[in-house]
């Protein structure tokens, strides 16, 4: 362990880390700012992992631990799919699959004022952004981007929402496009919204397309890229 710490921080990148691993030593890199994502914490100069997974690094300075879970731990700037649970005078209570319900302030919409508070019935599906995620506090959500614009956020109409692991939803969002979506998109036309909390919403003109896409995505969980393409081709052949 001691040896690893003295190594350059790059040695941990793209390798598996477990809770307690000190992945970065800030004392040796005082001249740069570091942005921490999910699964990392700072103790003075040491950055240690809080969950098991793969340590990822994105240029110039972002670090996070990537893992796959059924439960979602909110993280700032994540886009998530939430379900309205209850509405209060100041907040909508939103279920984001996390340990606590999220708060969506009633004014957190584009051009939101006290006059035009939207009405959502319980069970409405919303595409949201996490604004604050602190320990011991309910996460705060927003229906606008950082500039206050609606930018695709808001309620999703019709379609079908299903749950996946957080790892799969991250894979679906990755670029270059995930092989399942690539293969499905060649033959079918559909609309998709992926939340990093492991929720995926699909909409298409006909219910069969939605069912095919939803099942293809759910089946792709443990398949490699090539296997995913074969699976999708198989599935598409069987429905034609």
């Amino acid at each position: 362990m001691e040896q690893k710490q003295s190594n350059s921080p790059a040695s941990f990148i793209d390798s598996t880390v477990v809770p307690g691993d000190v992945v970065l030593d800030l004392s040796s890199m005082t001249n740069q700012t570091v942005k921490l994502g999910g699964g990392l914490r700072q103790d003075c100069d040491a950055i240690s992992a809080m969950k098991a997974g793969t340590l990822r690094f994105s240029k110039p300075n972002k670090y996070w631990v990537e893992s796959s879970q059924k439960r979602y731990v909110p993280c700032v700037e994540d886009t998530v799919l939430g379900i309205v649970v209850d509405s209060k005078a100041d907040n909508f209570l939103i279920d984001v699959k996390g340990p606590a319900v999220g708060f969506l302030p009633v004014l957190a919409f584009e051009g939101g004022t006290r006059r035009n508070i939207p009405k959502f019935e319980v069970g409405t599906l919303l595409y949201l952004r996490v604004v604050k995620a602190n320990f011991g506090m309910n996460p705060e959500l927003s229906c606008t981007d950082a500039g206050g614009k609606a930018a695709e956020f808001g309620p999703l109409k019709d379609g079908y929402m299903f749950e996946t692991s957080t790892g799969l939803s991250r894979k679906l969002l990755s670029s270059p496009t995930c092989p399942v979506l690539e293969a499905l998109g060649k033959k079918l036309s559909f609309e998709i919204a992926v939340g990093l909390n492991g929720r995926v919403w699909v909409n298409a003109a006909s219910p069969d397309t939605i069912v095919v896409v939803a099942n293809a995505i759910m089946n792709s969980e443990s398949l490699s890229g090539a296997q995913q393409i074969i699976m999708v081709e198989h599935l598409l052949k069987s429905i034609q």
């Binding site: 069970g123 409405t124 379609g159 919403w201």
Partner: protein
């Protein structure tokens, strides 16, 4: 209050509408046809009388144990069969630990009724000494994951566990012939239970439009459907039990249609359970055979040593 909000599972308005509209064109969210059952996987534990059943996402474990007890006064010659259910919060956050919920009681009752009223397990053969000792068979059903249609999955788990369960053989001895001797499994091969037939529970879901009927509803469908009916039938077409609790009324014509469908499905499921048990029994027998050569070879050597010593 907030904790409960986070724990309760809920379906979005989108999903509710989608499930209904898709069903109008006979499509179900997992790609099944309305009268199609999910895939059943039956596994057995290393010990006799334990089974694990997977029905799609649903996962149920069944364990059968037996104990010698005093019989009920009014039935001195009959063994006792009892069912206990355990709904772990791990399976579904809405299950509360400790106190059994409404669903847990209903599930236990449906399976109990199916097994008992149809006399599928021969309780008279469980009598050891009339009025004094009978075998009490206890079936524990643990719900490990709730993916919908727990009743059918738990019922299959109970049957699979009952079919592979073996109770120790016992005989009467002592001076007055009233003492019960339980033979350990190494000395006398334990006996399987007498199961006359397999009552298979098949659950149907009804949707607000009475013409929509689905078999083996999933978790999501259960949240949308307006009525549910469980029919317990066996492969011979005998109806063992019907449970229709609350919800929307169902016309007689539909019930008859359900019974026909259920009988057809029961034949298939019975076959599958029997095949799985067969495989388990052969494996069990093979395990026995493997153990013998080592023990006999040791015995032979001991005997040789003894004869040499003489």
């Amino acid at each position: 209050m907030e904790g409960r909000l986070a724990n309760s599972w809920r379906l979005t308005v989108n999903d509710k509408n989608f499930i209904k509209t898709a069903l109008l064109s006979e499509i179900r969210i997992d790609g099944r046809k309305p009268y199609e059952y999910r895939k059943i996987a039956i596994k057995f534990g290393r010990e006799d009388g334990s089974s694990e059943v997977q029905l799609g996402q649903t996962h149920v474990m069944g364990i059968v144990t037996a104990q010698l007890v005093q019989p009920y006064r009014d039935r001195p010659k009959e063994g006792i069969l009892s069912i206990y259910t355990e709904f772990s919060p791990m399976a579904d956050p809405s299950f509360e630990p400790g106190r059994p919920g409404e669903l847990a009681v209903e599930l236990g009752r449906i399976i109990d009724r199916g097994l008992r009223e149809s006399r599928s397990v021969d309780t008279e053969s469980l009598c050891v000494l009339a009025g004094k000792f009978v075998w009490a068979i206890r079936i524990d059903l643990h719900i490990l994951d709730n993916g919908g249609n727990l009743v059918d999955a738990a019922n299959i788990a109970a049957l699979a566990a009952l079919l592979t369960f073996r109770r120790p053989e016992c005989s009467l001895g002592g001076e007055d012939g009233q003492e019960v001797i339980v033979h350990p499994p190494e000395i006398r091969e334990p006996l399987p239970l007498t199961v006359h037939h397999l009552p298979i529970a098949i659950t149907f879901g009804f949707f607000s439009n009475e013409s929509i009927l689905v078999i083996d509803p999933t978790h999501n469908e259960e949240a949308v459907m307006s009525g549910r009916m469980t029919t317990t039938v066996n492969a011979n077409g005998d109806i063992c039990a019907i449970q229709k609790a609350g919800g929307e009324g169902v016309p007689q014509r539909v019930i008859m249609q359900c019974l026909q469908l259920a009988t057809a499905k029961a034949v298939g499921i019975t076959k599958q359970i029997k095949e799985a048990v067969e495989v388990y029994n052969t494996e069990r027998a093979l395990r026995k055979i493997k153990r013998h050569p080592t023990s006999t070879s040791v015995n032979v050597r001991e005997k040789q040593n003894q004869s040499i010593g003489k």
